[in-house]
């Protein structure tokens, strides 16, 4: 009975975080802020739900499996968010107008509508300087 209560409480906490992630991805004003919601709130919520499953089964093999899933999500969520954030910045997605900091401003070269990769940044700089 006590174990059931603990499982219910942990699953409720996880579900609350997942629900907050859903509200956040709907209400946030910016792609990058939406990405922050996906990586933080959803990861914590899913981790809590998986922990409740591990407590319910109370078994070494199941606990190992759950830990593998949690570690995998913890490893992959930031990497995926970084990749998609970089891709959308390169595609030229606008930041929210109330954003106060843009650390990547000026690090990429503008070519028409898109922003090019910084691969040949120094070469382009020299060319631009020669032109001017």
């Amino acid at each position: 009975m006590i174990v059931d209560t603990i499982i219910g409480v942990i699953a409720t906490l996880g579900t609350l975080f997942v629900l907050l992630a859903g509200v956040g991805i709907l209400r946030m004003p910016d792609t990058y802020l939406r990405m922050a919601v996906t990586t933080k709130a959803a990861t914590l919520g899913i981790g809590l739900i998986l922990v409740s499953a591990a407590i319910y089964f109370n078994d070494l093999s199941t606990t190992t499996r759950v830990l593998a899933v949690i570690i995998f999500i913890l490893l992959t969520a930031p990497v995926g968010a970084h990749l998609i954030g970089k891709a959308s910045y390169i595609k030229g997605n606008k930041l929210w107008e109330k954003t106060t900091m843009d650390d990547l401003a000026g690090k990429y070269r503008k070519t028409g509508k898109n922003i090019s990769l910084p691969r040949n940044m120094d070469k382009h700089k020299e060319k631009d300087q020669e032109k001017s």
């Binding site: 859903g22 991805i25 990405m35 998986l50 093999s61 593998a68 999500i73 995926g80 959308s88 898109n114």
Partner: protein, 92 residues
């Protein structure tokens, strides 16, 4: 209220509401990166639903599927970001 009833009537509907909210963003999302983020979140919530169902049906084998789903979701995100970077002209 037993644990099974609680999971059935509170946890699973809440997760379904979260999935509906994310799906609205998936349909609306002004840019393609919004849609990719929404798909990533959908897969993550799907892992949670699988975990709850494995409790409800007393089948710890379902957690293997959750592991595979996490793997495929990460691969999808990486592939989408790669091709978004490759795409040149269209901004949408």
């Amino acid at each position: 209220m037993t644990l099974d009833n609680y999971l059935y009537y509170v946890i699973l509907p809440a997760l379904s509401i979260a999935i509906l909210l994310v799906f609205y963003r998936f349909f609306k999302g002004p840019t393609i990166s919004d849609r990719v983020v929404a798909v990533d979140l959908l897969v993550t919530i799907g892992i949670g639903v699988i975990a709850v169902y494995s409790i409800l049906s007393h089948q710890p084998t379902f957690l293997d599927i959750a592991l595979i789903l996490a793997l495929i979701g990460f691969l999808a995100t990486v592939a989408y970001s790669f091709y978004i970077q490759k795409r040149k002209n269209r901004n949408e």
